[in-house]
């Protein structure tokens, strides 16, 4: 997990995701691009909801439930959140 893919993700959004996620991370897992929410961080649906709500507040965005099934990793969330931030805040 050394090289981060160049996916157009915003560094600011990446930093925000990691900052919020770390407050929900109850494991010793070091957060990386490929860290998986369910398998690596033991997130259940309740924790996912609380985390997403906190991220929405941090970035002032709306993350529809619809996008969540396609998001397994931290990197995928950063990409999706970047898209939403650009759409909502220009």
């Amino acid at each position: 997990m050394s090289a981060e893919p160049s996916d157009g993700a915003s560094p600011d959004v990446r930093a925000a995701v990691l900052e919020v996620l770390q407050t929900f991370n109850k494991t010793d897992v070091i957060l990386k691009h490929g860290t998986r929410f369910t398998e690596d961080l033991n997130f259940d649906s309740l924790l996912v909801m609380e985390f997403i709500a906190a991220l929405e507040d941090r970035l002032d965005i709306s993350v529809p439930l619809n996008v969540l099934p396609d998001i397994e990793t931290v990197g995928q969330l950063v990409v999706a959140a970047t898209e939403i931030v650009r759409e909502e805040h220009g």
Binding site: D44, S45, L46, M49, A53, E56, D57, D60, I61, S62, V63, P64, L65, N66, E88
Partner: protein, 410 residues
């Protein structure tokens, strides 16, 4: 070789670890004989039923039984058809008129179950450019309905109008309609929606509609049993009311009412309405008869609330700390699923049936021993329920105060 059912491996493991010891299975209860609204024989034991959602006890109302018998004899055991084909009889239309009349809306559609009512409305009413803002504690039928549809789904924190406000504010610049979805009484903990606060938030924004699922509050709240909107005097502010016949109405079926002038178009658009058979005439007839009893059921509601208060107080007195609202749903939190199963079995051995509710079907991943009361329960029956709860908590060495702390948070 791979087995088709391998994908259920974790479910099987959880079931086996929780109830695989051959003891009484909370999810395979069989009523050998139903004795009344409040009693049945289960495993040869005379059991008080305290988890049936039969709030007003209308399952044996003489008027409803007679209406069902008459319709059964006159029109047969089933319609064998969809509402849009051969499955609409005069009884279905009469029930729809009765519902719209009772709830003060211009239109009503009857569905074959409450689950299908939510699937129908939530999957169809809103499109890809619209938003659903749903309370996080909404019932599975609401979750399934919105997943079946194309709208963008936003959840707000349970019963938190300020959180809803924040989310609507973020969406206010986006085009598209917004539909807020709440429940009058939430099924698991029995708490009510803060409807006045939610309506106030709704009114701040444009193109926002409000849908309330009154499954557990119809017949229960309001002077005439029209649910939470009647109780708080905000019926005109709720655009769509969804409900079920399988609780206070005492049979099976669902409905939605609205005064939107084009509401009837949904009959041609809702797939769970079109592609399933309609309710049998006897069910429709008993629903209509029971609906009239709901409206005139002030005395039943008083008994129900008396019973709710009695059970609530009794459980609090022996040390259980329960959630805020006193309602006909009384949920005791168990510390974990294993204790929940042991507790439930202890209650069954003592002749008391309640629902065992496990995560993820519960708010905040609680394990719940969920009681629901009936107007037909006697004070003696409720005293017995309290006594058995106390005995089981005692035998499990389960300090009620400890288990209750979480409930107080909920």
């Amino acid at each position: 070789m791979a087995d088709l059912f391998d994908r259920f491996g974790s479910l099987r493991a959880r079931r086996d670890s929780l109830v695989g010891d051959g003891g009484h299975d909370p999810f395979q209860v069989e009523m050998d004989e139903v004795l009344s609204q409040t009693e049945a024989m289960i495993c040869g034991r005379h059991t008080i039923l305290a988890g049936t959602n039969n709030y007003l006890g209308l399952t044996f109302a003489p008027e409803s039984l007679k209406a069902a018998h008459d319709a059964l004899d006159a029109e047969g055991t089933g319609t064998t058809g969809s509402r849009v084909a051969n499955g609409t009889y005069s009884g279905h239309k009469a029930l729809e008129y009765a519902l719209s009349d009772f709830l003060g809306k211009d239109h009503a559609i009857v569905f074959s179950t409450g689950y299908l009512a939510n699937l129908s409305i939530l999957s169809t009413l809103v499109g890809p450019d619209d938003y659903i803002l749903m309370d996080a504690d909404c019932h599975a039928s609401i979750y399934d309905g919105v997943r079946m549809g194309d709208a963008q789904i936003i959840r707000f924190k349970h019963n938190d109008a300020a959180d809803l406000d924040k989310r609507l504010a973020r969406l206010s610049k986006k085009p598209g309609n917004k539909l807020i979805v709440i429940e009058g009484i939430y099924s698991m903990l029995g708490d009510k929606a803060p409807l006045a606060e939610i309506v106030a938030v709704k009114k701040k924004y444009e193109d926002v509609y409000l849908l309330s699922d009154e499954a557990h509050s119809l017949g229960v709240l309001g002077r005439y049993g029209r649910g939470l909107p009647e109780e708080v005097g905000l019926e005109d502010d709720v655009d769509f009311i969804v409900g079920t016949f399988s609780k206070s109405i005492g049979t099976v079926g669902g409905f939605c009412v609205s005064s939107h002038p084009q509401f009837d178009l949904l009959r041609l658009a809702c797939r769970p309405y079109i592609f399933t058979a309609s309710l049998p005439p006897s069910v429709v007839a008993s629903a209509k008869a029971s609906l009239a009893l709901v409206e005139s059921g002030g005395a039943l509601r008083k008994r129900l609330m008396r019973n709710a208060e009695h059970l609530h107080k009794g459980l609090v007195d022996i040390g259980f700390i329960l959630g805020g609202d006193i309602s006909p749903v009384v949920a005791v939190v168990a510390p974990d699923a294993e204790t929940g199963v042991s507790f439930w079995r202890g209650l069954m051995d003592g002749g008391v049936y309640v629902n065992l509710a496990l995560p993820p079907a519960t708010p905040q991943n609680f394990t719940l021993l969920r009681c629901s009361l009936c107007a037909a329960h006697t004070i003696e029956q409720i005293d017995r329920i309290i006594e058995v709860f106390a005995d089981v908590a005692d035998s499990l060495g389960m300090l009620p105060a400890e288990s209750g702390k979480k409930a107080a948070l909920g």
